[in-house]
């Protein structure tokens, strides 16, 4: 199962989330983006299938990312680990 796209009217930034389907902070992050009407894509790492999971972990490793969920990547450069509403809003100019 590849990443899921959630439509929104704000498309200025490319927003990608690595999440867990059971994680409450991930859920809150998705809610924040939806409420802000930001378009984003997410990959639930626990339900996506082992191929996607392996490549997701490989991608995060190559970025030297701290693993912790959610992981938010804005425009392929800003990486935020964990639910940090202020940082997310700042990165997206909200």
């Amino acid at each position: 199962m590849p990443a899921t796209k959630v439509e929104g009217s704000k498309k200025e930034h490319r927003v990608f989330l690595y999440t867990l389907s059971t994680c409450v902070w991930c859920k809150k992050t998705k809610e924040l983006l939806r409420e802000s009407d930001v378009e984003y894509e997410y990959l639930d790492v626990d339900t996506c299938g082992s191929e996607e999971r392996r490549s997701a972990i490989g991608a995060l490793k190559s970025r030297n990312a701290q693993i912790g969920f959610p992981i938010i990547i804005v425009d392929d450069k800003t990486l935020i680990t964990g639910y940090k509403p202020d940082e997310i809003r700042e990165a997206l100019g909200l």
């Binding site: 059971t22 701290q66 693993i67």
Partner: protein
């Protein structure tokens, strides 16, 4: 028998009571956590942390089976565990729940299912051999694992207070 949210909730309540701590006071947040634990128990066979990636391989995930190895030190330091299921009285009364730093090693977080299964596939029975007996020098609690727990579940002594149990057979007693 399928796992029910009621059972998961009762188990968490009982554990919180036994340890003098509380469950997340935000009922919606708590409900989501309980449901996450139920789903994990259903799919993995054990209730691993809803907020951490499990491999589905028991030996790899043992430290994140709720209540996880990191709960007690996190509740002591931050007033709540990583997933925010368990909180101390102060956090319970104030309702101030927040994300806290991850205490689990990054190495474990990066392990994927396939890697976790590899050692077992390579040589059957090699994993149990790596386990040893450890005892808590403070209270005497003994555990059979690859390494000592993060904190002693009985007296909460730190990992450093554990020592390996070495068994010796006495010769010439006949």
């Amino acid at each position: 028998m399928s796992v029910t949210v009621d059972r998961v909730r009762q188990r968490a309540e009982a554990d919180a009571r036994a340890h003098g701590i509380y469950l997340n006071p935000d009922q919606k947040f708590l409900g989501d956590l309980i449901e996450g634990l139920r789903r994990n128990e259903e799919r993995y066979g054990y209730p691993s942390c809803p907020c951490r990636p499990a491999t589905g391989v028991f030996d790899q995930d043992r430290d994140i089976i709720c209540p996880c190895d990191y709960r007690d030190p996190d509740v002591a330091e931050y007033g709540q565990c990583y997933c925010c299921l368990y909180v101390d009285k102060k956090t319970h009364d104030s309702g101030e729940i927040k994300p806290i730093p991850e205490r689990r090693s990054q190495e474990k977080m990066f392990t994927v299912e396939a890697e976790a299964q590899q050692p077992a596939a390579e040589a059957k029975g090699s994993q149990p051999a790596a386990r040893r007996l450890w005892y808590c020098r403070q209270c005497g609690y003994v555990v059979f694992r690859e390494e000592p727990p993060y904190v002693c579940p009985v007296c909460r002594a730190k990992k450093e207070l554990f020592a390996e149990v070495r068994l010796a057979v006495e010769q010439g007693t006949t």
